[in-house]
Structures are given as C-alpha cells and as structure tokens.
Amino acid sequence: MPASPAVSPVIRVQLYARFADLLGASHVDVPASGPTTVADVLARIRSLPGGSAIGAGALVAVNLRQARPEQPVSPGDEVALLPPLAGG
C-alpha cells in the first residue's frame, strides 16, 4: 500500500525589520515534525543564510506575546522573530 505524500508540519515565523532584511524574506517556515520550542525555532533560523547575524537581543513572540526559549511552539501558533525593540 503506497504511502500518501505526507504534508510536513511547519511553523511559520514572521520576520520583522532588520531580520526581514537579513533573511531577505517576510517569513520563513520551520519544520516541526516533533515537539518544538522557541529555542529550536531560533536555532533553525540562525542556521539559514543570513541568519547567523541574528544576535542575542532577538525576541520571539508567540501569539502576540514575548516567549521564553523553553516555551513549546505548534504549527497553529502565530510566531514572530523580532529585533531589539526601538519604539518611542
């Protein structure tokens, strides 16, 4: 019985400001076949071309709130990678 082509689950990560420039994209899709944390997502994006310049000040927001590295992330979440904030 042939396996139906599986749709690999991904976490879509929106990129903002300087990080969008660095990766040349407004978002990237990170594979999430197993349990995935904010730290996993960040490590994966840092391994992409241009991603090595993402510094320690980077923030990850999950569902509009700043998330800690150990927080789990699922494909349905709204995830965003944010450079150091500079409002005001």
Binding site: Q14, Y16, A17, R18, D21, G55, G57, L59, A61, L64, R65, Q66, A80, L82, P83, P84, L85, A86, G87, G88
Partner: protein, 171 residues
C-alpha cells in the same frame, strides 16, 4: 482609538480624550524625531511595527497604568517616514492630582519603549541608512551624555547655539 497611527499625532485630540471635569492635571510626553543619535546626524526616521502585537501590548500598558493609578491614559505611536521634529510617540495622562499623572506618564513611556514591537530605521546626512538597535547604542549614548555635560559647562555658547536652532524648529 488604535495605538498606531499613519497620520501626524494629534496632541490636542489626545488631551481631549483624557480630560474630564474631575481631573485637574495632565502630564504629557511627546517623543520627537531628533536630528542626532549616538553622535550621527539624522535626516529622517522610518517607523515600522508588528502591528497586532503592538496594539495588544500598548493596550495592556494603558490598562496597567489605569489600574495602578487613578488616571486616564491616552497613547499613540506614529508609523511611516518622519522628518526631524515630527512627533513619534505621545502619551497623555490625566488625573485628579499631578503626582499620579506624572508617575503614570513616566511608567507608560518606559514600558512602551521596553515592550512594544516597533522599530526605526535612520537615514543619515551622508545618505546611509541603518536599523536602530538600542542594545548596541547604550555605549554610544553614554558617551554622548558625557559630551552634553561637557558642553553645558560652556554655558554662553550653548545658549547661543540653542537660540539659533530654535529658528528651524519643526512642529
């Protein structure tokens, strides 16, 4: 009213929004685009935001201030391309007394800077552009402060040059 605004900030509108007969004091902070940053000459500033998060977090900050002090808070942040002297952020806080108005106003602007996802891209007089990274500018800023302290010792000159700049004020 939404926090983010593509239009010029309306300070009078913000004052009207927070005013009420029982509130005798309004503390306001307006952040303007400055012509220098970390020692470089700035010509324009482009503000962008992660809008849904910026709206949520700014509403939370307003609610926190209104819970902590008996005040009413109005808060706006401009987006887009701004020239020198244009208002980027405005906070107005009205209360029965000035202590709480000042305290809440200061709280709100500090929290906005710390928690709201907004970024700015500076265009300099030499034509280059750069994203502003406050975490990298801490050192430059303290050096700039030292310069300001030094220059304020030459009091007469400072006043004279401040008068001169006044002529080209943008509001």
């Amino acid at each position: 009213m939404s926090f983010l605004s593509a239009e010029a900030l309306d300070v009078n509108g913000l004052l009207a929004e927070v005013s009420a007969p029982g509130r005798g004091g309004i503390a306001v902070f307006i952040g303007l685009v400055r012509d220098h940053q970390a020692g470089r000459r700035v010509e324009r500033l482009g503000y962008s935001a992660y809008a849904p998060m910026a709206e949520l977090v700014s509403a939370e900050i307003v609610a926190e201030a209104e819970r902590r002090w008996p005040v009413r808070v109005g808060l706006r942040h401009r987006l887009g391309d701004l020239g020198i002297g244009e208002a980027a952020v405005a906070v107005a806080v009205a209360g029965a007394h000035r202590d709480e108005a000042f305290a809440a106003c200061r709280y709100v602007i500090e929290e906005v800077k710390r928690r709201v996802p907004i970024w700015k891209r500076e265009r300099y007089a030499d034509g280059t552009e750069e994203w502003v990274d406050p975490t990298r500018q801490e050192i430059a800023r303290s050096e700039e402060r030292d310069q300001e302290v030094a220059s304020s010792e030459k009091r007469g000159q400072e006043v004279a040059s401040s008068e001169k700049r006044e002529g080209s004020a943008v509001w």
